[in-house]
């Protein structure tokens, strides 16, 4: 257990061997937020997509077809679970894997869209998530090599110096997987249908971004 003046004291921890998940007030709230939106994705039906046809007065609404809807929901739930895992993970590499799962499921949510424009954006986003493997896993590996541990508890409090490059790499990696600040492709992705599921993309990417900020300040 640790008690740093950053996010409040650790409330409880769940050990899984070397990987100890823990909850502080901060991570607990992030976790609950992810859980809440996962529940919303399970419970709510998608909105009807309204299209205004240019040159006409008509506005047309349409529902997402069944298989697409089921697939999107499945992906959104997977994305929520990955985000929940990332918010409470107490191990840097484990966090990185959860993060890459977030990246992949985010692409999955929009992959069922038939809109060429959305797919183009999703592909660009996908390329970024694949490049992000270098900084993400590279950052974790540099942390392990220079400090001899991956546990956030061991590294917390600045007792062991984590090199600046490793921290910068981790932040960049999470930015790539979650696309946190570069929302260009994401803005296009948002055009896809299925509000509860599309929203999950933003929820998860914000949560992992918030979590990495906490991690790099803590270590």
């Amino acid at each position: 257990m640790f008690d740093l003046p950053i996010e409040g004291p650790a409330l409880f921890s769940i050990p899984f061997g070397d990987i100890v998940d823990y909850a502080s007030p901060y991570t607990l709230i992030l976790f609950l937020f992810a859980a809440l939106f996962t529940a919303l994705a399970i419970l709510s039906r998608p909105e009807q997509h309204a299209d205004i046809i240019f040159g006409e007065d008509g506005v047309y609404t349409g529902r997402i077809p069944g298989p697409e809807n089921r697939f999107q929901r499945f992906m959104a739930i997977a994305c929520g679970l990955a985000a929940m895992g990332a918010t409470v993970s107490g191990d840097i590499f484990n966090f990185c894997i959860f993060t890459s799962m977030v990246g992949l499921t985010c692409i999955g949510i929009v992959a069922s869209s038939g809109n060429r424009h959305v797919l183009n954006a999703a592909f660009e986003y996908g390329i970024v998530t694949m490049i992000a493997m270098i900084p993400l896993f590279g950052g974790a590996a540099i942390v392990a090599a220079t400090t001899g541990t991956l546990s956030i508890w061991e590294l917390a409090g600045g007792a062991i110096a984590v090199p600046f490059v490793a921290k910068a790499f981790l932040v960049l990696g999470v930015m790539g997987e979650g696309m946190a600040p570069f929302y260009v492709a994401k803005a296009e992705i948002t055009r896809a249908q299925g509000a509860p599921y599309i929203l999950m993309i933003h929820v998860s990417s914000l949560l992992i971004f918030l979590r990495i900020i906490e991690i790099i300040i803590t270590i």
């Binding site: 070397d18 992949l104 499921t105 390329i127 600046f164 790499f169 960049l172 296009e188």
Partner: protein, 161 residues
């Protein structure tokens, strides 16, 4: 030339940058540029990095062992010495490392060159880490594979039908 102008924009500095980042084709270059910058910083601050000699799960090589390069000691159903992060969370640590199936014992007795096969077979240090002490990683990893194939097979089937 015209295309370049459209891509990079004209006018004030701010609107030029805005034009550049508003095209998602430029997303990958922008991201790659940032990684390259950090890698350069890494190159410049390289002397600040030091390899920590006290690592968890250190490697020891014993070229004469039939289990080389994965001989971490231990006999079947006894615990081998494993330097984990939190040994207190894994009461039976070292047992998987030490275990050899009958088949791998046969390999070990027969030949000197099957070390990798033996350790990839159930039991051994890698299984210890992947299944026991860092099992959560493996759960997430198999889930990622699962999700990726769900995406791929969904798209494939929808296209081919």
């Amino acid at each position: 030339m015209r295309e370049r102008e459209i891509r990079e924009g004209h006018g004030s500095m701010v609107s030029r940058i805005s034009r550049f980042i508003s095209d998602f084709d430029n997303l990958v270059p922008a991201y790659a540029l940032m990684i390259a910058c950090v890698a350069l910083i890494g190159l410049l601050t390289l002397p600040l990095l030091t390899y920590e000699p006290d690592q968890i799960y250190p490697k020891t090589l014993n070229p004469s062992s039939p289990l080389n390069p994965y001989d971490r000691g231990g006999a079947p159903f006894t615990a081998a010495e494993v330097h984990a992060q939190y040994p207190e969370n894994a009461p039976y640590i070292g047992y998987v490392t030490g275990y050899l199936t009958p088949l791998s014992r046969f390999f070990a007795a027969t030949t000197q060159y099957m070390g990798t096969t033996i350790v990839a077979h159930p039991g051994g240090i890698i299984d210890e880490i992947l299944y026991y002490t860092r099992g959560l990683d493996t759960i997430v990893e198999t889930s990622i594979l699962f999700v990726a194939f769900a995406v791929a097979s969904f798209l494939y089937r929808r296209r081919e039908e």
